[in-house]
Amino acid sequence: MSEELVVRRISNGTVIDHIPAGRALKVLRILGITGEEGYMVSMVMNVYSKKLGKKDIVKVEGRELSSEEVNKIALVAPTATINIVRDYEVVEKRKVELPDRIEGIVRCVNPKCVTNAPREAVHPSFRVISRKPLKLVCEYCGEYLTEEEVIAQLAGT
């Protein structure tokens, strides 16, 4: 069944397409969308896709997400496409692109890193030093975070 038939068309907002199947909830989580914001959010999982076989799609009505907000989902959905919809038409389409820095979202694996200390005024932050395979380096302690570690951490969410 086509996703068009599953989810109503939106007049204005953002469609995040080509999310690897099963990752839509992680995408919402990374975006910090909980549903309590008030705007309409719909999501389809495991729909047929020519490019990916199966994919997930997230649609956010009434909000145009900026690249900055959306790019961090590249950690779990590097294939995603961002479509900005105005008046029912796609007016802008861009690929997500992993930013050079990642703040929050994942933790440092070094137990002696200050970002793992409870109750301190600090959030984990990383510099991206390789995209394929993904490799991050902690800006506080210099420890590496590998792709497998990132996926493992986000799988638990």
Partner: protein
């Protein structure tokens, strides 16, 4: 670059020119009262003798005063106050904050929270920039330069912060080669190896000793070995004595961040190779120069 008001978090925040200037100030036997009326906070969340005393001495020699604490007993951290809150408090009292902490990245966090400049006096197992400055300064003075020399770095290269800081610091120069001499389980992590910009190689001490211009020795702690038998087996290969040094270049110098236990035999002290006491003494002029340059 002016250091005034700047944080000193990693040796790599400095350029060769910056260090050169610092070294020239340190060797000019300057005296002064540049810190008159200034307060230096010595926030030692982890115990230290040498580093703390040399910062105190440097402060007093420049006419400054200091406040602070050693380890966490006797402060409200023992009562559960966070590191962040302690730093904010010191920031309100002092003109510069010197931080020693067991957590990695603690100095960077302090620098984000404090208006006053923060000097990292060792955080976690990787960074100890003022020690690296002293080490480089010792080579600079004793060998009349840092480039084109063959270095041996021996000991715990995995958890030891002095060795890691020294190796990182060498990245600012052009050593001919660095030999890394460590038991397999104490070799540096790939995070460090990836950053090395000079030719380097793992090596055996006896094999490379005749080539070395500088031998940087650090302690191998027994506690680092899961198996004590393994420690007993390897420790002999990382011990320096006068007999061994017969094979070294005449002008090869030995550095050690101290304290040493038995990795350098006492009979080495009276050889011309031993420079570790000088190195320790250089801790004061280097920290004087740094404080003079950094304190706003």
């Amino acid at each position: 670059m002016s250091f005034r008001g700047k944080d000193v978090l990693s040796i790599l925040d400095f350029s060769r020119n910056d260090l050169e200037r610092l070294f020239r100030i340190a060797s000019s036997r300057f005296e002064g009262d540049e810190l008159k009326g200034k307060v230096v906070a010595l926030a030692f969340f982890e115990p230290s003798t040498r580093t703390r005393l040399s910062f105190e001495t440097a402060t007093l020699r420049l006419g400054g005063g200091y406040i602070g604490f050693d380890a966490v007993q006797g402060t409200s951290i023992a009562k559960g106050e966070t590191f962040s809150d302690t730093i904010r408090m010191l920031d309100a009292y002092a003109d510069v904050i010197v931080v020693r902490h067991s957590l990695e990245g603690a100095a960077k966090l302090a620098a984000e929270l404090a208006e006053a400049p923060v000097i990292n006096a060792g955080d976690g197992s990787k960074r100890h920039p003022t020690q690296a400055m002293i080490d480089l300064y010792t080579v600079w003075r004793e060998k009349k330069g840092i480039d084109n020399l063959v270095y041996g770095v021996l000991g715990d290269l995995r958890y030891g912060r002095a060795s890691g800081s020294f190796l990182r610091a060498l990245n600012l120069y052009s050593p001919r080669k660095a030999y890394l001499i460590a038991p397999e389980s104490l070799r540096p992590k790939e995070e460090l190896l990836d950053t090395l910009r000079m030719p380097w190689e793992f090596a055996d001490l006896e094999e490379v000793l005749p080539e070395l211009d500088v031998l940087y020795v650090t302690r191998i702690q027994k506690e680092r070995f899961p198996d004590p038998a393994e420690y007993e087996r390897v420790k002999g290969s990382y011990r320096i004595d006068a007999a061994l040094l017969k094979n070294a270049k005449e002008d090869m110098i030995i550095l050690h961040p101290l304290p040493r236990v038995d990795e350098i035999a006492l009979d080495v002290d009276s050889t011309p190779h031993a420079r570790y006491f000088k190195q320790a003494a250089y801790g004061v002029p280097i920290r004087m120069a740094l404080l003079r340059e950094v304190v706003p």
